[in-house]
């Protein structure tokens, strides 16, 4: 979800003056993906194809997938598989690719020893509807771990995307409906989880995300132009930022909207990966703006999102923030409209405070805040923009707050504006701020 701006006006003008000619005839190709296209549910009979190192008909996952017909099951035995897998097209619709749901650590797709392009995406599902992927661990991917695109319906369950060389761990792009559950993602240099570019729908099909755990990523959850997604009963901690639903020019259909983030634990998102990380960190340039580490939940633009009943604590910049997407090219989609932030519990009863509990630049209209409990500090401090829910009307813009939030992003230390407080211990977890001195479990 990185952004860059380019100066191309002059170039375009020069290209036009060259006035190159070409044959008039041209072919238009189908768009890269049209999720929503009907793919009939297969009638069967269905087969189960077994994969394992010895004693099975198939020794590689891909060979079994190639043989499988729509609706079949590919059952993968415990072991390590050094291959990337593609599930492509309607002929693979309703396929079930099943590893070890009870213990996904026993079925590993390891791309670390492979060369490009085999080392890019561990499992890529493209234009095949209603595929189920369950019970796998992956590591060593350079691109994405488990990735579905251009599909209507998918089930991702019991998956582990462990990085530490990839971009997104568990990822759905240009897809309608689906579910992600009982899964985890770590050490990805963008989003541990990511749902992006959801097509707008007249009759929205919701995507349900439940019981996931995302930690040690740049972003626990990235949601560029994400729609109709409910994220619940999940944990986001030790990331640079916890969850960032956002509007982005580089992908279709901005802004993000109609998402629900409810009943999650969002804490300790203070991983300053700029000071060291097992993954490659792209240095900020004059053309890109990094997200500032230290934020629990950030709405960067967006409409009709609901953030409620979450427990948000120990994030050094802000617990929950919202800011206009002032960089968006589409001016009609920049503003925050109709978002609700309510019934959240901030600061763990004072035992694990956020640097600032709530931050809002007051942009947009119909946005409301509260009631929320445990709120000790807000930016702006006078609480002006934080009108309680429900609310209809223009919100009160606060330019100083927007400027302050921009400064967070521009801070070369990435932690100058942190307000560091104590953490209440959580069994089995070590707060991650500086990777080099961190005593938690590092990736292989």
């Amino acid at each position: 979800m990185r952004t860059r701006s380019r100066t191309a006006v002059l170039l375009t003008a020069l290209a036009a003056t060259l006035c190159v000619t070409a044959p008039a005839l041209a072919a238009d190709y189908p768009a890269p993906g049209k999720p929503g296209a009907i793919q009939k549910k297969p009638k069967g009979p269905f087969k189960t194809l077994k994969v394992c190192a010895s004693g099975c008909k198939f020794k590689t996952i891909q060979s079994a997938v190639n043989k499988a017909k729509a609706g079949d099951t590919v059952k993968v035995g415990d072991g390590t598989y050094k291959e990337s897998v593609k599930i492509t097209g309607p002929s693979k619709r309703y396929l079930k690719l099943i590893g070890n749901a009870a213990d996904p650590s026993k079925v590993v797709i390891d791309l670390s020893s492979l060369k490009a392009p085999k080392n890019q995406n561990s499992v890529l599902i493209n234009a095949a509807n209603e595929v189920t992927l369950q019970g796998f661990t992956t590591e060593g991917y350079r691109g994405n771990g488990f990735f579905v695109t251009n599909a209507t319906g998918y089930t991702f369950a019991n998956l582990r995307a462990m990085g530490p060389t990839g971009v997104y761990g568990i990822y759905a792009f240009n897809a309608i409906g689906g579910s992600m559950r009982d899964s985890e993602a770590h050490w990805n240099n963008d989003g541990g989880f990511y749902i992006g570019q959801t097509p707008p729908q007249d009759k929205p099909v919701r995507t349900i995300v439940t019981n996931i755990s995302s930690s040690e990523n740049v972003l626990g959850w990235s949601g560029s132009n994400m729609r109709y997604v409910t994220i619940t009963k999940s944990r986001f901690y030790n990331n640079g930022l916890g969850l960032v639903p956002n509007a982005l020019t580089s992908e279709k259909y901005p802004p993000e909207e109609a998402n629900v983030i409810s009943d999650n634990d969002v804490f300790w998102n203070n991983f300053n990966y700029f000071n060291g990380a097992p993954f490659e960190v792209r240095p900020p340039t004059g053309e890109s703006t990094p997200y500032p580490p230290g934020v629990g939940i950030l709405l960067f633009g967006g409409r009709t999102n609901v953030v409620e009943n979450n427990r948000v604590f120990g994030n050094y910049l802000a617990g929950i923030g919202a800011i206009q997407q002032f960089l968006l090219k589409d001016a009609s989609a920049k503003d925050l409209i109709g978002n609700q932030v309510k019934n959240n519990v901030l600061g763990a009863g004072g035992a694990d405070p956020n640097g600032r509990d709530l931050v809002y630049d007051g942009n947009g209209s119909n946005n409301c805040w509260g009631p929320n409990t445990g709120v000790q500090t807000t930016t702006p401090a006078d609480g002006g923009p934080f009108v309680p829910c429900p609310f209809t009307g223009a919100n009160t813009f606060n330019a100083a707050t927007q400027s302050e939030m921009v400064n967070w992003a521009l801070d070369p230390t990435h932690q100058q504006y942190w307000i560091v407080g104590p953490h209440a211990p959580i069994a089995g977890l070590v707060p991650l701020e500086n990777y080099n001195t961190w005593t938690g479990t590092k990736p292989r």
Partner: protein, 129 residues
């Protein structure tokens, strides 16, 4: 408005293309002489977040384009033919973040509009003469 690094490089590429085309244009005007087709070339295109560099190319028929992903991991991108001359089959690269090279020989004259299927703003145009 100042030129960005990318605009300058692309501008240079356009200038080279224009120079390359000049002899052919001159030759066309020479009475009785058979027009000599320019030799195919190999052009490299960089893949970045979120742009191709250069974003415009003009090459002789039969030229080869090599799209090169960076060594260090960027965002994931691909190369997909969105519109092309009649008769050209659609082509698309793998979706990749780094260390990958996708090569395509363009044998049919015309305009090729290339997109990244993951990033709407990421486009390039190739003219094959």
């Amino acid at each position: 408005m100042t030129l960005t690094k990318h605009a300058k490089i692309a501008l240079s590429a356009l200038a080279v293309s224009a120079i390359a085309l000049a002899p052919a244009a001159a030759g066309a005007g020479a009475a009785g002489k058979k027009k000599k087709a320019p030799k195919p070339v190999t052009e490299k295109v960089g893949i970045f977040d979120n742009y191709y560099e250069p974003a415009k190319l003009t090459v002789p028929k039969g030229s080869t384009i090599k799209w090169e992903w960076p060594i260090t991991t960027g965002d994931t991108h691909d190369v997909t033919l969105d519109k092309g001359p009649k008769g050209v089959k659609k082509f698309e690269s793998e979706i990749a973040a780094s260390e990958y090279v996708y090569t395509k020989k363009l044998t049919v004259a015309g305009k090729y509009h290339i997109i990244c299927s993951l990033h709407e703003e990421m486009v390039m145009d190739i003219t094959v003469r």
